[in-house]
Symmetry: C2
Amino acid sequence: MTARLHCFGESGNAYKAALTLVLSGYDWEPVFVDFFNGATRSPDFRKLNVMGEVPVFEEGGTVLSQSGAIMYHVVARTGKHGGKPGEEPDVLRWILWDNHKLSGPAGMTRFLMNFLPADKRPEAVIAFTQARLKNAYAVLDTHLADRDWIVGKGPTIADLSCCGYLYYPEPFGFDRGDWPNIDRWLDGIAALPGWKHPYDLMPGNPSDRA
Amino acid sequence: MTARLHCFGESGNAYKAALTLVLSGYDWEPVFVDFFNGATRSPDFRKLNVMGEVPVFEEGGTVLSQSGAIMYHVVARTGKHGGKPGEEPDVLRWILWDNHKLSGPAGMTRFLMNFLPADKRPEAVIAFTQARLKNAYAVLDTHLADRDWIVGKGPTIADLSCCGYLYYPEPFGFDRGDWPNIDRWLDGIAALPGWKHPYDLMPGNPSDRA
């Protein structure tokens, strides 16, 4: 049975799940969620996911939300990208850090800067969050100084989580040129067989609304 | 061997780990981290944890950071609070949601409102984050409407994660009286044998600096 991923192109959190699915050779298809017209606030969507967020994954009777939970489901089914024995706690640690310190604020800042009308942008919030994000980029760049992947010697869902918002073209204060180790690591992920950019992997992107 | 948890009382993220340890009957002791005098920025601490955060857990040669990763370690060792078979994906989902949508912004907002000099408080950021947090409280309160625990029929690390910042006395915009289901659920956690308030479980609290 083909699994379904409720998603839209602009969501870096959905991208993490979609990228894990495609790089793991999973049988899946995207289901477009019209976020910008309020789809995640509808009663039907809330029934599917009380959290009111994408991604949501459906396979048979299994319904999962949260990109990390979906990634772990794919690891359990395919045996791929979970890390070698003993590396699991470190993989989980970086996924949690990503949710808290990297993708969380990065996704919000990108939304505020690019998907809100100019006169509704909370400039003080954007400046504050960009400053906090610099600490997160510095942590990741330092960690990657002498390694190709976040955990161990191969790509894991820790990498596929942390990269969630870092390929998007819309500005939010992240410039690959400022972080050479992150830059090299992103090239390494993009060189994996089957890798796709978020706008090529999921339906919906800003040009649809231009 | 007694495990060591690097922590301080004001950290709700450290509290999640400490509470899981104590409720699971683990052999552990707290190690005070003098966060307010810059201890987490020191080279020695960064060597222990590149992320520069508490909690950090040490046991023999094992070093773990991120409250969620520590909680999973305790579950693996004790078999307690991990949920019943089949509930694991839901437990993980709520821990990830907590990192992203609840404890992440709650911890930050509480810090900005209570632990910064009044003339340095970014009021626009505080107001913005409080508004976002209301959505998170509403999601959790809705979810708890017809249940005692976040997942299944007993306490799991999903509960111990989501409650991390919700027992503290310092104001950050969360009022238990506004959220009756959360209020009842917090009483349920506090009734578990061995439960302690964060300031009774870990060294350091605001009165030390008064």
